[in-house]
Symmetry: C2
Subunit: 367 residues, 2 copies
């Protein structure tokens, strides 16, 4: 154990040396090594065992190389029992929302992955950080900028990393169009159209409840927004938005559909749509000297596209979620930058807040 | 000649009989037969010999079956001379803007095709109607709803037809997506994204001058708007729009780019973009149970697309403009409904006016 830890520390020292020119980075993220052994695989505890944990994350954690499903946090004893059996989880690694904070004393758990409804993210991210655990947090990061800032701050002061579950940013097919903007392959980005939506037949889900952080904008809308942000490599400076619903009996508290237009500093513009009532998932980017199309553009699997010069984007990927967790674990192990840290979730939330403000005022809102 | 005319009248009588159930239609359009002989081909006079007349309409008039280039109206003697030679136009069929009204006495000219800057459309459509000539009018029909109404009214009271140069509506590739909406092939239309733009390198053109009816919205924007209107088969009930420019030194008086979001009575929404600074031309329609994509969606040639059920839209077409003029001539000859009459131009102009009002107020505008 000691040897392992020494290895780990020496890796950290190398990482620190590499970062010698950027001392502030070290103070921002895990500068003090926590008294925790290096491991072959980091232990992840999933908090909230809904659809995404059940159907996506738990299966992904069976094929991850840098982490594994070590524990669960659930308020439903029947779920605890089922998961315990299915994934052979030790009793001592199973928590409920009351005894959750005791996870601090459990060396099996290195990372807490918060997969609860968005309104609960802040509380559980802060509690996990206080327990000294690194945190993965599902998107949308939180309903407000204030929440996001509190979450980032708690992780910083507890010297743990905070990664947002932006699986797409780990997908080489999405990275391909990010690179086109960065390299200015077709000159400047001029216009982006992006859409992410699906028909949700459910009628009583947190996605339809305001108090739980529902509404399509934070959920699917963030993919449409990221389509524009990642395709430009810029942050929008203003937005005008409209919310609507075709099923007011279901979407009483939150919007079913959101449409918004973004303004970027370079002059690029974007038109984005998201909906719980429409199956759609695409991205179109028109550059000075070419175009790029993706469809689907933010699916779990099979994101693909083409460019005006004939380039095809179609990299097979086994599991976005596995790749995401492995890459985030490597960033933890090597103390390097996360692909999508809390600050990235904050950037989206800042725009989402402006979008709701635009809906409320009916006017364009500066960001 | 008399025999021909009798034939013509008997055709009209048949057409009138067919319309017996709709007497108002007869009073609205050419109810009184003008004292003009039926012809193998109707004579068209082009008014305004800019790029579109030169490169598109005149060549198309060499292959039309129901009409031919009979005359021209131009203020530039050098152009008159060149066209006269190139197209073998008799001197008596060449007019300038001063003697234009004498065209009333010229039996060679059945149709006046107004291809001037938009601000001049109203004057020349009204003068052509008063001269007793049928009128083709290029898009945008006119800068204001009041103009459009005056043009429609002048044509009605002079018992001549008024067709707008909406070439796309004569293109079977565009008709294909109109039919999908009409047949509800994939259920209701839910979301439309449409874009029409190109990079215009010119710096001193009517398209950049407000007084001449410039601005991208009326010009290219109408294609993006029609993408949405034709794909839904509905008229929008509200719009929110934003104008912008990346070249303020050129686009001082009018917008370079317009983005707008439309609301349709069925609940369908549309997001549309148009620009003189961006090469883009596509349409995406997401229905309840499928999708349709076109790219290009409003080009002169090669509009094509695909649908979620595997249907390919790709009908070869020799010349949209020739098809448009032939079909409009047939409507004149048979006194049947035009595919795109003045009322269709008015519908677009009503939305365009609301779009400018939205830009001015920064708010959504009811239509």
């Amino acid at each position: 154990m000691q040897v392992e830890r020494r290895d780990f520390l020496s890796k950290l020292t190398l990482a620190s040396a590499a970062l010698a020119g950027a001392p502030t980075l070290l103070s921002n993220a895990w500068a003090t090594v926590l008294p925790r052994p290096a491991k072959e695989k980091l232990g992840v505890a999933l908090v909230g065992l809904g659809y995404y944990s059940t159907d996506l994350l738990a299966p992904a954690l069976q094929i991850t190389e840098k982490c594994y499903l070590a524990g669960i946090v659930t308020g439903t004893p029947a779920k605890a029992e089922a998961w315990k059996k299915k994934y052979n989880i030790p009793e001592k690694n199973i928590y409920n929302y009351q005894n959750f904070d005791k996870i601090a004393d459990n060396p099996d758990i290195d990372i807490v992955y918060v997969v609860l409804p968005p309104s609960m993210h802040r509380e559980y991210v802060v509690r996990a950080a206080k327990a000294g655990k690194h945190v993965f947090c599902e998107k949308p990061m939180a309903p407000s900028v204030a929440d996001c800032e509190a979450m980032i701050s708690a992780c910083k002061s507890n010297k743990v990393k905070l990664a947002i579950g932006y699986r797409c940013q780990h997908d080489p097919n999405i990275q391909a169009f990010m690179k086109v903007a960065k390299d200015q392959k077709f000159g400047k980005v001029k216009m982006i159209t992006s859409a992410a939506g699906y028909f949700d037949a459910r009628t009583d889900h947190w996605k339809q409840k305001k108090a739980l952080g529902g509404g399509v904008m934070g959920d699917m809308g963030v993919y449409a927004l990221q389509g524009a942000r990642l395709a430009t490599g810029e942050e929008p400076i203003s937005v005008i938005a409209q919310a609507s619903t075709t099923r007011p009996e279901i979407y009483k508290e939150v919007e079913e559909t959101m449409m918004f237009m973004l303004d970027f500093p370079s002059g690029a513009r974007a038109s984005c749509q998201t909906s719980y009532g429409i199956n759609m998932n695409f991205l179109q980017v028109n550059y000075e000297k070419g175009w790029l199309k993706m469809e689907p553009a933010s699916a779990y699997n099979g994101n693909k596209g083409s460019m005006s010069d004939g380039t095809i984007i179609d990299v097979p990927i086994k599991s976005q979620q596995a790749k995401q967790m492995d890459e985030d674990c490597l960033a933890i192990i090597n103390n390097t930058d996360l692909i999508a840290p809390g600050e990235e979730g904050l950037r989206d939330t800042r725009v989402v807040e402006a979008i709701y403000k635009s809906v409320a005022t009916g006017k364009s809102v500066k960001i």
